[in-house]
């Protein structure tokens, strides 16, 4: 069997990882410390994109509402931190629930709530498929967007600022370099978990559902249940990314869950190569770097990105990762 695609894949991942690990050092040498914050952001979006790839690239579910879970994760951190700082309870009745500043409490909460929201939205949406599913996920995420806009207490359209990043034992999240490595660790951990997931029994079922759902049912699988669980897991990942973005920017706003944000994350997955797990990381890096550097030349860089995206869809569907790693990229 031709080993070279596998070797190219491993090599490119190794090089990429090494570069990412060394980034703060490289940035220091170059004297461009803003690169650390830029790449923290990129890593966080990469996490969101990988989580979307689980349901999109492996599960075949085209969701235009993934940013909703991203936003929920961010708001959990935002609201609880806000109350934690102010010292006010979120609700006083039927039981007192105070705020918090610790990442150890907030981030699992973000993940859990994002997952819970996905359980509800997924249960309703996954009864449909195709165009219906796309539009319904879109509509639900917009519902959440408008809901958060209507929350005057939490800034409405303007959102809320965090007074400082969360606390985390042993690490000073306020230090940009330490925060960067935390994000890198989170992404690496999620990638590893996703890799195991995709090759596990569960992963095989999900991939089967994408490929031929009718066959899966006639084999005896309750495809709805498996898809729902996958949807929830992906949302949990997005929730974690949301918690991190809230810390990175020290600000949360409803814009984080606007459907155009879902679209951006979708673009990252496609750009990098869907169904590959590492592709979305590449996609996030590419898209965000493009944004950063193109905007130096022209504030209207989107007028070029738009048609570029159209061309990509029509002619280069496998994405960048597909081009680099070559071969059959169906096994993550």
């Amino acid at each position: 069997m031709d080993k070279s695609p596998v070797n190219r894949k491993i090599l490119s991942i190794a090089i990429g990882s090494a570069l990412l690990l060394a980034l703060p050092v490289l940035a220091g040498i170059a004297g461009e410390s803003y690169l650390v914050t830029l790449f923290s952001r990129i890593l966080i979006y990469a996490l969101a994109a990988v989580s979307l790839d689980l349901i999109l690239g492996f599960g075949g579910m085209v969701s235009l509402g993934h940013a909703a879970f991203f936003g929920i994760g961010a708001y959990v951190v935002g609201i609880l931190s806000f109350h934690g700082f102010e010292g006010t309870p979120i609700i006083a009745w039927p039981f007192a629930l105070g705020g918090h500043q610790s990442g150890l409490v907030l981030w699992p909460a973000a993940v859990l709530l994002a997952g819970a929201a996905a359980a509800v939205i997924g249960a309703l949406s996954l009864r449909t498929s195709g165009i219906h599913f796309i539009m319904i996920t879109l509509a639900f995420s917009q519902m959440l967007y408008y809901f958060f806009v209507s929350l005057e207490a939490y800034g409405g359209d303007d959102g809320i600022s965090l007074f400082s990043r969360n606390t985390f034992p042993g690490i000073d999240l306020g230090n940009d370099t330490q925060f960067y490595y935390l994000c890198l660790a989170a992404l690496a951990a999620f990638l590893f978990l996703s890799y195991r997931l995709v090759h596990s029994r569960f992963g095989m079922v999900i991939r089967g559902c994408k490929e031929n759902e009718r066959r899966m049912k006639s084999l005896g699988f309750s495809t709805f249940r498996y898809r729902l669980v996958c949807f929830i897991i992906a949302a949990a990942g997005a929730g974690l990314a949301g918690a991190l973005i809230a810390n990175q920017t020290e600000y949360v706003s409803p814009g984080l869950m606007h459907w155009t944000r879902s679209g951006e994350i979708l673009v990252m997955v496609l750009l990098g190569g869907m169904g590959t797990l590492f592709g979305p990381v590449l996609g996030a890096i590419t898209l965000l770097l493009l944004e950063e550097f193109l905007s130096i030349y022209t504030e209207h860089w989107m007028v070029y990105l738009g048609p570029f995206l159209v061309l990509m869809v029509l002619f280069a569907k496998r994405g960048i990762y597909g081009l680099i790693a070559g071969g059959n990229n169906n096994h993550g």
Binding site: L124, Q142, V310
Partner: protein, 304 residues
Amino acid sequence: MLLFIEQLLNGLQLGIMLFLMSAGLTLVFGIMQVINLAHGSFYMIGAYVGATVTARTGSFILGILTALPAAALAGMAVEVLVLRRLYKKEHLDQVLATFGLIMFFNELTQIIWGRQPLYMDVPRWLSGSIELIPGIPYPSYRIAVICVGIMVGVLLYLLFTHTRIGMQIRAGASNREMAGALGVNIRLLYTLVFGLGTLLAGLAGVMAGPILAVEAGMGENILIFTFVVIVIGGIGSIRGALAGALLVGMVDTLGRAFLPTLFRLFLSAAYADGVAASLASMSVYILMAGVLVYRPRGLLPAHG
């Protein structure tokens, strides 16, 4: 009571706008099986062209008369250049490509017209109000919008049931290959259907101009409601689009107007307004969720 009638009419007017938007979109979904996220862009094009021409010439009619062909031509150009290649592709591809189109159009309008929103005035000959029901004045402009919408609905009905081209469209919808074999020029037909859809969107846009602000991104806001309308009404069904549009228009308008009052009955004013505002903004989606549970294919789905 007066307030109720007024809000009812507002709901009707919003419903009509949504109908114009969703009629075209549901046709495209149902006939060409393509999901087109960029539909809102044609609404925007209609609004921008209409606003510009009206400002330059002082004539609202001229504004409409240029906005419609602009939206239709832009639509047909997009169909020929991009959409045509997407018909056989997966929905994901269609989503991404049309998302790219949104980016393009939004940015293009900002390049041409700048970032500041444009404002359209209600034309003077429509700026008064009429007492439809004695004692209840209602803005003439909004009444005009409602009338136009009804006219369009009737015209569409006649088009589809009484003309050859309408029949061809319906044939093309049920069986593309057969219709093609029978001599119907499917490619041209699809382009025309798409153009019709974008023309309707452009009409909605130019009529919305005096009511809302004309700015980049305006299309996306109404697009969401349009999708909800189509999901509720049933994909591919114009009757469904009408039913869904009126339902959504009413629920949203009446919800926003009356939920605060309703909640004030048993909550303190501060809480009531907050909860009501949140619920009002979600009401349409809750409606959609409800419809989905009982009728996953929509209220009036198109026949097979």
